[in-house]
């Protein structure tokens, strides 16, 4: 039921127009996390919300065409790699784990700027991981619903009668 396409002109048009702006807003929340509420997790959740909008309106298969579950899993791992990688780069440069001020010797900027860029880097990793994880969870939930129904449709129809059969 949730996997099907939502055949409605208003919903499809509004979602098609909204999705780029939602993603832009997510990037704003991600990058502006120092000065306003937001940051990596919130930006990732809003990015995932854009994907959920596509999934709700254009259906399960179309959403998988845009971002497959394998790619989502890889993005999830890449986000953790970015986070831990920046931490270990700081460790290799002689500081503590995630000691951003050591990044000065790579980035060639002033220490406060280097700290800001380091935090932005790990926030990007967190956002990627959160987006991919949320997307995978929602797609798996939608997939398990139809798989369960496929197993015993006869028992389902006996129990709930007309409501279920008219839904199909």
């Amino acid at each position: 039921m949730l996997r099907q396409k939502y055949e409605d002109v208003i919903a499809q048009t509004s979602v098609r127009i909204m999705v780029p702006f939602v993603q832009l807003y997510a990037l704003y929340v991600l990058a502006h996390g120092h000065y306003s509420p937001g940051g990596g997790f919130q930006g990732g959740v809003i990015l995932a919300a854009a994907l959920v909008l596509i999934f709700l309106v254009y259906g399960y298969d179309d959403a998988l065409d845009r971002l497959s579950l394998g790619t989502a899993g890889r993005l999830c791992s890449i986000g953790v790699l970015i986070y831990a990688g920046i931490g270990f780069i700081c460790l290799l440069l002689g500081g503590n784990f995630l000691d951003y001020s050591r990044l000065v010797s790579i980035l060639h900027v002033a220490p406060p700027k280097a700290r800001s860029l380091g935090i932005l880097g790990i926030e990007t990793g967190v956002a990627l991981t959160v987006m991919a994880a949320m997307y995978s969870i929602i797609m798996d939930v939608a997939n398990s619903e139809t798989n369960n129904n496929k197993g015993d449709t006869a028992a389902d129809e006996n129990q709930t009668g007309e409501i279920c059969s008219s839904g199909k």
Binding site: L2, Y6, D8, A11, Y25, I46, A49, L56, S166
Partner: protein, 88 residues
């Protein structure tokens, strides 16, 4: 000016309970979905007014934008679900 906005805020908070009554006891599912959307819209306005009272409108504007987005997704999911069930 601030006391006026505080009064508006408290009034909107009371209005939320009227919508909540419609969500809980609403005779049809359409009533419930629309009342949930109305609660979301009121919450958005309340947030912006609280931001004005605290003197940090730009911060609360971000929160209310996210809230509007999640409210839209919720309404869309509910309407898709109930359209597929066809028993409103």
């Amino acid at each position: 000016m601030k006391s006026f906005f505080l009064a508006v805020d408290i009034f909107l908070c009371l209005m939320v309970f009227l919508c909540l009554y419609r969500v809980v006891f609403g005779p049809t599912l359409g009533d419930r979905i629309v009342a949930t959307g109305a609660i979301g819209t009121k919450t958005l306005t309340i947030l912006v007014i609280i931001g004005f009272l605290y003197g940090r409108v730009e911060m609360f504007l971000d929160i209310s934008l996210s809230y509007a987005l999640l409210n839209f997704i919720g309404t869309l999911a509910a309407s898709k679900y109930f359209e597929a069930k066809r028993e409103i």
